[in-house]
Symmetry: C2
Subunit: 531 residues, 2 copies
């Protein structure tokens, strides 16, 4: 690749033209965002005609977001929340926290450091624009979440003698071997029909550089490979030993290892780099909304019935603050964010088809285990600072903290995590274990990747969403058939009642789904109010 370099005189001449020239294009349209969403710049509500009250069920992200926008537009808002905390599944478990699950198992978190577990959402992709718009608006401090770490491990019990391989090595060796094979095919003329002569030259040049092939277009250990893949002996200072490039893995064991499959975890649009996290825990996002709408939340309110007529709704609930006394709250509209798994068990006045939709969507299972260790051995010994190692063991993945890098003292890693995935049903097995058993299992499997577990372990905490009384599962587990049959019904306004939450979105399980659902819901409610 050659560049044309302006002389000083040419450069100065060009600079002179800056002021006069028009912008080549407008950023927003050129980047292709304009079409993406009418909500790109947030909702703009007309507000109610006269005093109107909206009752919101659930102080999770969808409920608080809806309350925030409706209040800004002039609606009276009240939130009823079953728990004595805000945020719903957007929560963070820290040392000193205690939870009791459905089975009566008491989960104590004994972490001594400021490490934590986000049992629900734990990372934010940049295209979740509603999340970041609110982080900006609500002054929620954000830091990078390291999703892909080239030093993290990929591990299979049945490959490379059970020895973990570096993400960067696997990825670069796939790329190198693929490049070598394709270059060979091109040079044999196998693709003469598919690729023009001019493109073939560029393709060979590209493969050589991208795959770091040698002059014979083979993927071999060379000094250039060291600069690309790393060293067996690193370049040093002064008269330290001579550097030695590393040696790539051959294609055949790589193909048979199954590790190529693990690389795909980094491939999705949702996992593109960089991802982000709130500083100090995911509940920072819930806290941001709570600072705005905390005053309208009534806690300890266990909804038992939703009644509605043409003019409004009446919600019955047991008031935990008054010993469970049955009370009622009325409003012009009701936005219900209660998970379908719970809502299906309540008495709800609504159309038959909405009732069917509410009962139709199963909730996915998911679990997590976090472990605290005496020191950051993954950083000190393994040079893994942040990121995720994947394994075919039932812990599925080990995620290292994206904060407190290179500090001394204890730290917490997310030592096991999976959601329901077709073809493996780990999550049910893990959900059947007690907290203590889940911690023991995470230790048992994790030490095969990090033997330091044996000496550095301090304490652990775990979470299984199917054992959580207020959600009975992790998130709405849609299929294409279910969407066709029930999604529109679930989202439509049913007289004076409308549902919102991640289950009413095409982005299940993510905070963005809850936010966009809330924004869409309040927009339609506001339009109906002003129709």
């Amino acid at each position: 690749m050659t560049f044309s370099t302006p002389t000083r005189r040419q450069l100065l001449a060009m600079i002179g033209k800056v002021a006069g020239s028009a912008a080549m294009y407008q950023a927003m349209t050129s980047m292709g965002f304009a079409a993406e969403s009418e909500y790109r710049d947030g909702v703009s509500l007309q507000g109610p005609r006269g005093g109107k009250k909206v009752l919101i069920l659930g102080a999770g992200i969808a409920g608080m977001c809806a309350a925030y926008e409706l209040r800004k537009a002039g609606y009276e808002v009240k939130i009823l929340e079953y728990q004595n905390r805000h945020g719903g599944r957007v929560m963070t478990i820290r040392g000193g926290d205690r939870y009791t699950d459905l089975a009566g198992d008491v989960i104590d978190c004994d972490f001594e450091s400021d490490g934590y577990l986000n049992p629900g959402p734990w990372r934010l992709p940049i295209h979740h624009y509603a999340v970041f718009d609110y982080c900006r608006e609500l002054n929620i401090p954000i830091e990078p979440f390291v999703m892909k770490n080239d030093k993290a491990y990929l591990h299979s019990q049945h490959a490379f003698g059970g020895k973990p391989q570096r993400v960067g090595h696997v990825e670069k060796d796939i790329r190198g071997n693929v490049s070598e094979l394709l270059a060979k095919a091109v040079n044999q003329g196998a693709l003469d029909e598919a690729v023009s002569l001019e493109d073939r030259e560029k393709l060979l040049e590209g493969l050589r550089d991208w795959g770091v092939l040698d002059k014979d277009l083979r993927y071999r250990s060379t000094e250039a490979l060291g600069e690309y893949r790393g060293w067996d002996v690193l370049p040093g200072g002064g008269l330290m030993p001579e550097k030695e490039p590393s040696t790539p893995m051959d294609l055949s064991p790589l193909l048979q290892s199954g590790l190529w499959n693990q690389i795909l975890n980094f491939n999705s649009y949702e996992h593109e780099s960089p991802m982000f996290e709130p500083v100090g825990g995911m509940d920072g996002i819930a806290d941001g909304f709570h600072r705005q709408v905390g005053s309208v939340i009534q806690y300890g309110a266990r909804v038992t019935r939703i009644q509605q007529g043409d003019d409004g709704v009446t919600v019955s609930y047991e008031d935990g603050g008054r010993g469970g006394e049955l009370r009622q709250e009325s409003a012009d509209w009701c936005i219900c964010t209660i998970p379908l798994s719970v809502l299906a068990q309540l008495q709800v006045d609504c159309s038959d088809k909405l009732r069917k939709a509410i009962g139709a969507v199963p909730y996915a299972s998911a679990f997590k285990v976090a472990l605290e260790f005496r020191r950051r051995f993954w950083e000190e010994d393994d040079w893994i600072a942040g990121g995720i190692s994947y394994t075919d063991l039932p812990i599925v993945q080990i995620a290292y903290p994206s904060h407190g890098f290179f500090t001394k003292g204890p730290a917490v890693i997310q030592a096991a995590y999976d959601t329901y995935t077709a073809g493996r049903n780990y999550t049910y097995t893990w959900s059947s274990l007690s907290n203590e058993e889940r911690i023991a299992a995470a230790l048992h499997y994790g030490r095969q990747i990090h033997p330091q577990y044996d000496t550095e372990f301090m304490s652990g905490v775990s979470w299984a969403w199917h054992r959580v009384p207020w959600t009975l599962g992790c998130y709405g587990q849609w299929t294409e058939d279910l969407r066709r049959a029930h999604y529109e019904t679930l989202c439509e306004i049913d007289n004076r009642l409308v549902l919102a939450g991640e289950h009413c979105s095409h982005i299940p399980a993510w905070i963005e789904g809850a936010l966009l659902s809330a924004l869409d819901t309040v927009s339609r409610l506001d339009q109906r109010e002003n129709a």
Copy 2:
């Protein structure tokens, strides 16, 4: 890929075995670090036999590191530093700073935010273990530096109508097109000799998943491609518009665009993800050492001559604190970290071959420009939070800050940066410009990628290392021939004098090179002392 899932009973049985089983392998040896360096766990000096003094020239990273280790081992240490600041090239320019370059050009930094420019080193790869060992030891706070951002741009004036393309799109489209071509070649039997039947099946399966090919093994717009490459219309909440997958670029325009070449910037071992930076600016590392050895630094000391005999060294210097009065300092040993570009002009008693080596290594040119804008338009409009956009314009790259994400108000980007690269000599052109001209040029070119420059610009600052009086260039520009002829001589102890710094390492320009050079130098000096 299938997993065998243990039952609850099997899992509990396995957990029971944890305590009794030995660790499968030791982490350190299995990870292949053991061979990498004898310095992996830091130096261990014997210390002097009786009182011994070491005079160090230069309070940069190498000088301060050497001073720190020698003092810990019991040596008396003094540092002479030309400037009135510590850190050398490891520096950070902030609002309120003022510098005067060789040409008399006064460089004022008027930044209003806490944004900054690191004119020298600005990012740390994780395998620079000495850097991170010292960050841990000296309590230097570290945060991720976003090197690769899939949303950042690749840009060529001559491709795609000058419209920037997303890094993720280019990378995934290369991978998809390469996978399609290789799958085609495999299915045509073109690689039957190179790849066994068993491997061919795995290869096709791998290419289909890795390249996200459709059922006919073609790289086309499908829903799966949306999940992988992104959407023209993003999945939404409630009844928002239906999602639409994006459309990939065809192979031919991609090959001809030159953007594949720009992807290589993310390929090197030094740029693997994640990289890191000190919180608040790269001078945080210099400050960490300064907290340890600040008391032994004499500032404003302009060394003019280094004399040595069999028993020690005497260094003459003009004392800036006393109006330039000529003074002398004697010691048993001298470690000189003065850049060769400056040292070559001083009177130095040493062997002829060392004098030749000092004069033989040219210094690379490099420049940077930083611009402050009224708002983070790259985050708000372009969804680029951190990372680097590359272009074939003479600014070469635009780096977005890896801190203060999603905050309101002004922020600083590194708007142009290049070091000398064979085939393009931008750095000399840029070095010939004044500070004001460099800022104007960065604006002129950068607005072709970010038209928001026109309305959001506040102020700028620039740096050209060949115009800096105390280095006369950026770093030692070694070639293989120069290494063969002079490197060992340059690093060897010459009677009572020994050199250190990035120029005495195989990692030029990086802090790690300066540190490993210092560690190697003090080790050999200590061995000589105890021989």
